[in-house]
Amino acid sequence: MLFTSYDFLGFILVLFVLYYIVPKKFQWPLLLGFSYIFYFLADPTYLIYIGITTVTVYLLGCKIEQFREEQSAYLKANKEVLSREDKKLYKNKIKSKQWKYLLIALFINIGILAVLKYTNFAISNVNSIMGLLGSDKQFGFLDLALPMGISFYTFQSVGYIIDVYRGTCKAEKNIFKFALFVSFFPQLVQGPISRFSQMAETLYQEHSFDAKNVCYGLQRILWGFFKKLVIADRILTAVNEIIRNPDEYAGAYVFVGMMFYALELYADFTGGIDVTIGVAEVLGIRLAENFNRPFFSKSIKEYWNRWHITMGTWFTDYIFYPISVCGPMLKLSKFSRKKLGENLGKRVPIYLSSFTVWLATGIWHGASWNFVVWGLGNWVVIMVSQELEPLYAKFHARFHLQSNRYFQFFQVIRTIFIMSCLRSFDCYRNVPVTFKMLGTMFTTWNWNILWDGSLMQLGLTMTDYLILLAGTILLIAVSMIQRKGKVRDQIAACPYAVRVAIWYGLFLVVLLTGVYGIGYEASQFIYNQF
């Protein structure tokens, strides 16, 4: 069920009404029911996978928690008799048991994800290696269905069980409550990746109808639809035209495609998240924000703190930190500092663990070399700018440009451009083509396409471009206003008539200029004599 389908609108409408009609203690079970219906409607077989994840993580989480309770009970009971050494010994024993259960959970769940998502990628690589070795033997691909949202709910569950292991959150004792955490339908499709400790606060609470929450939620959904239907789905035509025909569109077209794709991805992804968070808000549930005006970032590192935030922090908390501070890494750190000098040696472990993180980030996004290169490309850029830091410092000490607005603007544009170049790896067919197309930006000199009308051949009309222009200006304006606080708060402070005009106006814009439905194509209506 697509967020932009009538079905989805009907689905959430029914849910909203029921949610505030049923006795409050049935609110979260209702959400669980709707989430499973949502999943069932997508494909009943998906339920098996999400079921396995839910049950295994739930049981193992409880087990780990049980050890913790056992430990504190034991330590409390034997407070007097145990020596420091005994206590430590006992604790380590418990810890290693917990560790075992954690490993089982990780193995099962990451295993399912890996098998479903990466088997065919592995097979294709094995095949090409065999081809290179001169063998004719080729393995066939497996027909594996990738359950909707598996990357997201797996990460969410894995985060949960690691937190339970670490003791930063308590295991959920009610399997149905836990099942809701895993399957909560608005965030199933594209995140955000929530943390149990944060989400549990509002997910299971009883919520009474609150007009402000509901209005704010609906407003956010509408804004999401605006981004998705008016901007993303409109520009999609041109993006696809360019990236699917690399032979026809080289040079400046690559640049145009990159910029259009940046806009499309931003509008599509943030719009989808707006719908997700908005739906949750209507239900009185707070989800973590996933974006913080990412295109205003002055560096790639900052960009990744502001784009897909919940994914970034997930990788930092559950991959980057554990790898960076594990025993061998600390030893390596000591060793490299001794051998390479304090300054460089200190950075070796950091670079190594962030390499792992970016490799994982890349491969998480998609099972192909495109994403591997994309992920590592991000790593390279971040590392290079880290290495250039002293140089920047000198530069800034000399010219004092850091607070210069024009210089900041330059930094923002630079970041957008670098990110767009990297992103082209997830557009083009494969890695060599991407490199080739990026190369043509410098070899094929056809910038005149920007003004000679060639852009009109990409499947968009002048009206489309004008709408996109106006839409983009609106996006930027809203982002600027956001700096002063929530836009919805600012609108809510306006007189009633103005408020209504703004939201109804936005609704009309979506209704009329949104790209949805069969659309009126005059050509279809020319009566061709039947």
Binding site: L512, T513, G514, Y516, F525, I526, Q529, F530
Partner: protein, 345 residues
């Protein structure tokens, strides 16, 4: 205080609903100058509903029979409920819809649409269905007609379907927002120009000549409905040379008609008697009749209706005379207008 707030919300809701209603009317296609076929279905509802004969079917009814001739020469009051590529279930539900308003003596169904067993084209669906008033018949017609990407909601709120027309609105959309003059004459779409039929292509060989089950299902339903209502059903096949009417199809229809005791007139087979001349009586090389062709076959039909079926001549009824007077005038004016348009004398 509280009352005031409630009033405020009510006013807002009313303003929003009314403005959306107007907007919806605005963006719906008016079919006035371009594709007038889209208007045919809606025009029926303004009529005085006292017809002796109702035609249902696709272009083979609304371009080939002239109710004006039936009235003037036979005193038969008739109306055509046809639209572009009207599929058989659409004809059935349209008939159901019509029978809610009146009970004619005779229903004439053109059987060409037996060839389509499945929904065909969204655009034609819209032209046939949008004009219908809401009733269970319309709901069922929509459900039976939707192509893969269509949504029921698009029919309930046509603005969802036509929203992107904001971009191509013209004066016509405002002028004819709520009311528009009739484009057809009791459902008859008139053309006077001539384009002779030459090289009629033979029909392609088909894998299976049997009409589809769905087509038969609705044909049976139509027969049942007419029996139940006590209306005589007549099948016709207009003398159109294309789409090609296969002998195998003809056989099936003849058999079906015989089996159910239904009168069946195939105008392709009595070209001699009707006097249709494909050099002068068609405006698109044999697909549809022009005015002269339509009047010829209408006269043949009129003879059958008054002599064989025995429909009485109602020309003496004052009320009907009054209704027909302006219609005949408009009909004749349209002929003159078109003669001028096509540069004919």
């Amino acid at each position: 205080m509280k009352k005031k707030a409630i009033l405020k919300y009510i006013i807002t809701a009313v303003v929003i609903c009314v403005s959306l209603f107007f907007l919806q009317k605005l963006v719906q296609p008016k079919y006035m100058s371009d594709v007038v076929e889209g208007r045919l279905i809606a025009e029926y509802y303004d009529e005085e509903k006292d017809h002796d004969v109702i035609f249902v079917g696709d272009c083979e009814v609304y371009e080939n029979f002239s109710p004006k001739v039936l009235w003037e020469e036979y005193g038969i009051n008739s109306y055509i409920r046809g639209s572009a590529q009207q599929l058989i279930w659409q004809s059935y539900y349209l008939l159901e819809d019509t029978l809610r308003y009146e009970k004619p003596d005779v229903v004439i169904f053109n059987i060409l649409s037996m060839m389509y067993d499945e929904p065909q084209k969204e655009a034609y669906n819209r032209m046939t269905i949008d004009g219908m008033k809401w009733s269970m018949s319309k709901v069922k017609s929509i459900q039976a007609s939707m192509t893969e990407r269509e949504e029921f909601l698009d029919y309930v709120f046509p603005i969802l379907r036509y929203h992107s027309r904001w971009n191509e609105l013209s004066k016509e959309d405002i002028t004819y927002m709520f009311d528009a003059p009739n484009v057809a004459f009791n459902g008859y779409y008139m053309r006077v120009d001539v384009k002779p039929a030459e090289n009629i292509p033979e029909g392609k060989i088909l894998a299976d000549y049997r009409f589809g089950d769905n087509s038969y299902y609705y044909l049976d339903k139509m027969v049942e409905l007419c029996e139940k209502e006590g209306v005589e059903l007549i099948f016709v096949k207009a003398p159109s040379l294309y789409p090609y009417w296969y002998p195998e199809w003809e056989e099936q229809m003849e058999e079906y008609a015989a089996e159910h005791g239904i009168r069946y007139i195939n105008f392709l087979e009595n070209v001699e008697e009707t006097g249709v001349d494909f050099a002068v009586d068609t405006y698109d090389a044999g697909l549809h009749m022009n005015l002269s062709g339509a009047e010829k076959i209408t006269r043949y039909l009129g003879d059958v209706l008054s002599e064989e079926v025995g429909l009485e001549d109602r020309r003496g009824e004052e009320k009907l005379q009054k209704i027909w007077e302006p219609k005949i005038k408009a009909y004749e004016e349209e002929i003159i207008r078109q003669y001028e348009k096509y540069g004919m004398n």
